[in-house]
Structure formats: structure tokens, C-alpha cells
């Protein structure tokens, strides 16, 4: 099928997701917020099998207001852990389209390997990440991002970054 104005191609989606990752690693949080649709939800679940995130306890379940509050906290200088924030470097690979490239909303999954550095410590966070993207008049927008850390059920350390 020939891509139309409304559809999102695989390559376009991968470029968009790479930009999102770059924003987070470089703490361009204002740029990150702009990537989201107004009704977008950012989720870091605890339970791998959960799909009704609203009815479940998560590490993060952020609508637009909560994302803005989260960014404010990370950048305000009021939070000890955020002032002393980790540096992160993430690699994304193993992209796979879930569903149909011709759809106007596209779902794509990838592997994320994130290295955190803080206080002489390197930590790695491996995750399956699922994105749902939609096109609006401004371009692509993030409708849902779900970060399933493979060790999400373990005891984690405080995160002063966004996975």
C-alpha cells in the first residue's frame, strides 16, 4: 500500500522514537513534552502482564498534567535526587511493527538498553518498550509509551531519570 498523508511509515516511526530517546538522554524535557498528544499516557508498569494500567499500581502512570509535574520536579532544583541526577545513555533496537503500517495510529515495539551512571555506579535497565503514535496537524505525536522493565518486579533503586 502506498503511504498516504495520514499513515505513518515504519521508518518515520523509528526516527520519531529515536528523537524521543535523544530528548530524554540529553534532558531536553521541554522538547520531550512537545512530542506528546494531549491524551497521551506514559506508563512504567510493575506487572508485566498488566494491560489495564489505570486499574493497576504502576511505577508511573502519567497523563499530560502528571508529565508536566514530573518534568517540573526534575528541573526545578527542589529535589535532592534530581539535583544529583543520573546521566543516562539508551540504545533502541529490534523494532517491530505491531499491527498495520497503513493504520493512522501505529504501534511499534523495541528493545531498550539503558545505562545509568551516578555516584561511581553503572546500572543497566533493560526494557521492552511499546509506543503508539498518531499524526496530527503538527506531525507525529506520542499517544502511549509503555516501558516494561524486565526486572520491574524486583526491588529497584530510585530513578532520577525517565526510562
Amino acid at each position: 500500500m502506498t503511504p498516504t498523508q495520514e499513515t505513518i511509515t515504519f521508518d518515520e516511526a523509528v526516527r520519531f522514537i529515536s528523537t524521543e530517546a535523544d530528548c530524554l538522554d540529553h534532558r531536553d524535557y521541554a522538547g520531550w513534552l512537545d512530542l506528546w498528544a494531549d491524551d497521551g499516557i506514559y506508563v512504567v508498569p510493575i506487572d508485566h502482564d498488566a494491560d489495564d494500567f489505570a486499574a493497576t499500581l504502576n511505577y508511573a502512570y502519567d497523563d499530560k498534567a502528571m508529565r508536566r509535574m514530573r518534568v517540573a520536579r526534575l528541573t526545578s532544583g527542589e529535589s535532592t535526587s534530581a539535583r544529583d541526577a543520573s546521566t543516562t545513555l539508551r540504545s533502541l533496537s529490534r523494532f517491530r511493527l505491531l499491527g498495520d503500517e497503513s493504520a493512522t495510529e501505529l504501534q511499534i515495539r523495541c528493545a531498550q538498553h539503558l545505562v545509568e551512571y551516578r555516584h561511581d555506579n553503572f546500572r543497566t535497565y533493560a526494557a521492552n518498550v511499546t509506543y503508539r503514535l498518531r499524526r496530527d496537524s503538527q506531525g507525529l505525536r506520542l499517544v502511549e509509551k509503555v516501558v516494561r522493565l524486565i526486572n520491574s518486579a524486583d526491588a529497584l533503586a530510585g530513578m532520577s531519570f525517565l526510562p
Binding site: I46, A55, L57, Y59, Y61, R73, S81, L156, M159
Partner: protein, 411 residues
């Protein structure tokens, strides 16, 4: 460790930093405190049906907490009586029994040894001698405690004056039984007592949790700005204490006629379709939790709207669980609101927990060296007078916990 040493390390108004860093003291703590106290292991709602179990720890010892087919709640050492393997590694589930993966020794829900493959070659082997080792178990208001110490006083008297506070805490069921709703688990590189102190430390709240307070709406920020709002700390005996931050939220069944806060107005409107007005108010008032932290020595706090459970992993490493609670059979909208409130503050991505963990880690780092004096000061609120009887920032609860610590370590 001699009594004399501890006398010099734990004074009424201060403790020595070696309590955070001395591995010998840590080993003694596991033996003298965690193996001899009543230790909280689970909430009844986690094991409602016959066969339901959770696995957890008492000190270093892995244990299984389950409900057998007769409804009895048991806590059993999670260790096969043959060669010592754990017989269950799932964190929770439902099981008719437990089978050791090594040689398939098979245990019933009650821990009795039911079967041994190839039962030959043993001299005088009686299966009844080889059941899973049981701990003593008692309950109060849904809280399940266990102990290796068969001589300890009954749980009711151990909890003593903490019991009415537990009753008050459970009112956040809003007329429904309290149930657990998942948990955040995290570790921090520091001693467990740093966290034990923190649940009765209001003094840090406006400093460490400034970014949390900023994120709240004005009315809620006022509610959490409790430095001068009539709060107080009270020692309750046996190392337990209560810190009341928001006096008007001590009893959630009082003041039901008060105005519903703006942030809960939409939820109240929704609830009015299904519940009469008084019940709506009771539920709404319960959503935010209680206005106090109840610290139960040594490992549980009933902290405003959740259970805080600590587990010492090493002298400088501690695991903490923040267990979300809600209304069993209560309205979904109220329970979802509680989940979102829990996520807002708690856990490795919360607006509160990572900042707590960061400063606790700093305490451990600062306490690593041996430069003297190395006192951890607990003397706030010692000037208690009639005019200053109720300061929420007083370190009364910490002093009480350390006196209990000393009592157990020297018993």
C-alpha cells in the same frame, strides 16, 4: 558485643554512627531483634482463599505465609527438611502444597511432609518429624505477624497502646475491609534504622519533599504543610510510636459534614450515583488516607495511606516495600484515585521516595568514616513543656525506637 558497649553507643538523646556501619552489630540485630520480635509478614487480604500464599522474610529467613484448607493462617520456614532448598520461589500464588525441586519431597498446605520419592534406605524414618518448621503466628486487625520466639508476649500486649491507632488506620477502608493493591519495592545503600527513623521524622518533610509539595494544588499543599498545625509525636511502648501530622485526619469517621476538598469533588459526584450522601463522604474522606504515621517496631509502619515494610539486607543495604492499600469491594473510582496518589509519592519514580532514598544514602556515606564525635542526634523535642507539648517534629519516636533496640540487644 557487650552490654557495656551498647550503653556507650545508645544514649537517651543520641546514638553512635557505628550503629549504621558495624557489621557485627548488624549480625546481632538479626539474631536479637528480627529473630525474637513479632515481625510483620503479610496482610490478610493477600491470602483470602484456602491455598493462597505469599513468600517473604523474617530477618534473613525466607518464609511462606499461607492459608490452609481449614482457613488457618500459617507462617513456615521456606526450607526443605531434606537438604535445605527453598520449596517455593513464587512471590505469591495459590498452591495445594509445596514440592521441593531437588528430590521432590512434598509438603501439604499445613507444612506436613506428605511424600518422599523412593522411601527406602532410611532408618526409623517418621514423616511427622520432617514437616516445614512453623513460626508462631498472631494477627491484629488484618495484620499478620510471626516470630521465631515462642516465649514472646502475645501480639496484643506487644502492640499494646499501638492497637487503637491500628484501628484508626484501618478506617481508610471507608466502610469496606482494607485490601492490598500492589507494592513498590526499592533498595537504598544504607542501614535499616535510617528508614526506621524516617517514618517518625516530620522535620525533613518540607525540605526533602519540597518538589512533592510544589506539585500539589494549593489546598492539598496546605494540608501537607503540617509543621505548625497541632501535630505531635507519642511513644506507645515497645519501640512503637505515632506521629500525627494532620490532626483533623486522625479519625476518618469524624467530621463527615465538612466540605469535600475540591480535588475529590468530581469523585464525590460520581459516587453519589451509587451511594447515599453519608457513605459518599465516608469514602471520599478515606481516599487520602489517615493523618498519621504509626511506626511498629521493628519492620512495619502504617504510614498515612500505605504499609511501609523494611527488610535489612546488609549493614549498609535495606529493602523497602511501600504496599498500596484500598477498599475491598469499594468503588473502583476511589481505589484508582488511591493508586494514583500512591504512584505520585511512592516508589522509585515517585515524587517523594527517590528524595528520601537520596538523603538516607547521604547519611550512610557521611557515617562511613570513624572521625569522632560521630553522634546521630535525636534530641529534638526534649524541651517539651506545656506550651510545646505537641511538636510534630520532635524526635520522640526515634528515641523510643532506639531504647527498644537497646533493650532487645541487651536482653
Amino acid at each position: 558485643m557487650t552490654t557495656h558497649d551498647l550503653d556507650s553507643l545508645v544514649l537517651p538523646d543520641r546514638v553512635h554512627a557505628s550503629l549504621y556501619r558495624d557489621p557485627d552489630i548488624f549480625e546481632e540485630e538479626l539474631d536479637r531483634i528480627f529473630n525474637r520480635c513479632w515481625v510483620w509478614v503479610a496482610h490478610e487480604s493477600q491470602i483470602l482463599k484456602a491455598g493462597d500464599f505469599v513468600t517473604t522474610h523474617v530477618g534473613r529467613q525466607p518464609v511462606i505465609v499461607n492459608r490452609d484448607r481449614k482457613g488457618e493462617i500459617r507462617v513456615m520456614v521456606n526450607r526443605c527438611r531434606h537438604r535445605g532448598a527453598t520449596v517455593c520461589e513464587a512471590r505469591h500464588g495459590n498452591a495445594a502444597g509445596f514440592v521441593c525441586p531437588y528430590h521432590a519431597w512434598t509438603y501439604g498446605q499445613d507444612g506436613s511432609l506428605r511424600g518422599v520419592p523412593l522411601p527406602k534406605g532410611y532408618k526409623n524414618f517418621d514423616k511427622s518429624d520432617y514437616g516445614l518448621v512453623g513460626l508462631r503466628v498472631e494477627r491484629y486487625a488484618g495484620l499478620i505477624f510471626a516470630t521465631f520466639n515462642h516465649d514472646i508476649e502475645p501480639l496484643d500486649s506487644w502492640l499494646g497502646r499501638a492497637r487503637p491507632w491500628i484501628d484508626l488506620f484501618m478506617k481508610q477502608g471507608g466502610g469496606f475491609p482494607v485490601k492490598t493493591m500492589g507494592e513498590h519495592r526499592f533498595t537504598f545503600p544504607g542501614n535499616w534504622k535510617i528508614q526506621l527513623e524516617n517514618t517518625t521524622d516530620a522535620y525533613h518533610f518540607p525540605i526533602v519533599h519540597k518538589s512533592f509539595l510544589t506539585s500539589l494544588d494549593d489546598a492539598t499543599e496546605d494540608l501537607f504543610s503540617f509543621m505548625d498545625s497541632g501535630g505531635y509525636v507519642e511513644a506507645l511502648g515497645n519501640g512503637h510510636s505515632v506521629m500525627v501530622m494532620i490532626p483533623e485526619l486522625v479519625d476518618l469517621e469524624e467530621n463527615l459534614d465538612a466540605d469535600i476538598p475540591e480535588r475529590f469533588a468530581a469523585i464525590a459526584d460520581d459516587l453519589r450515583r451509587d451511594y447515599p450522601e453519608q457513605q459518599v463522604r465516608r469514602i471520599v474522606r478515606a481516599i487520602g488516607g489517615s493523618g498519621f504515621n504509626l511506626n511498629l517496631f521493628p519492620n512495619l509502619a502504617c504510614s498515612m495511606a500505605f504499609f511501609r515494610v523494611l527488610r535489612p539486607l546488609a549493614v549498609d543495604k535495606t529493602e523497602i516495600r511501600h504496599i498500596a492499600i484500598g477498599m475491598d469491594g469499594g468503588p473502583e473510582i476511589a481505589n484508582r484515585a488511591r493508586l494514583r496518589l500512591h504512584e505520585h509519592f511512592q516508589g522509585p519514580m515517585g515524587f517523594g521516595t527517590p528524595d528520601d532514598a537520596a538523603v538516607w544514602e547521604r547519611v550512610q556515606r557521611g557515617s562511613a568514616g570513624t572521625a569522632e564525635p560521630a553522634w546521630i542526634m535525636l534530641n529534638r523535642g526534649e524541651d517539651k513543656t506545656a506550651a510545646n507539648a505537641g511538636d510534630v517534629t520532635s524526635e520522640t519516636g526515634m528515641r523510643a525506637a532506639y531504647q527498644m533496640w537497646k533493650r532487645m540487644m541487651t536482653a
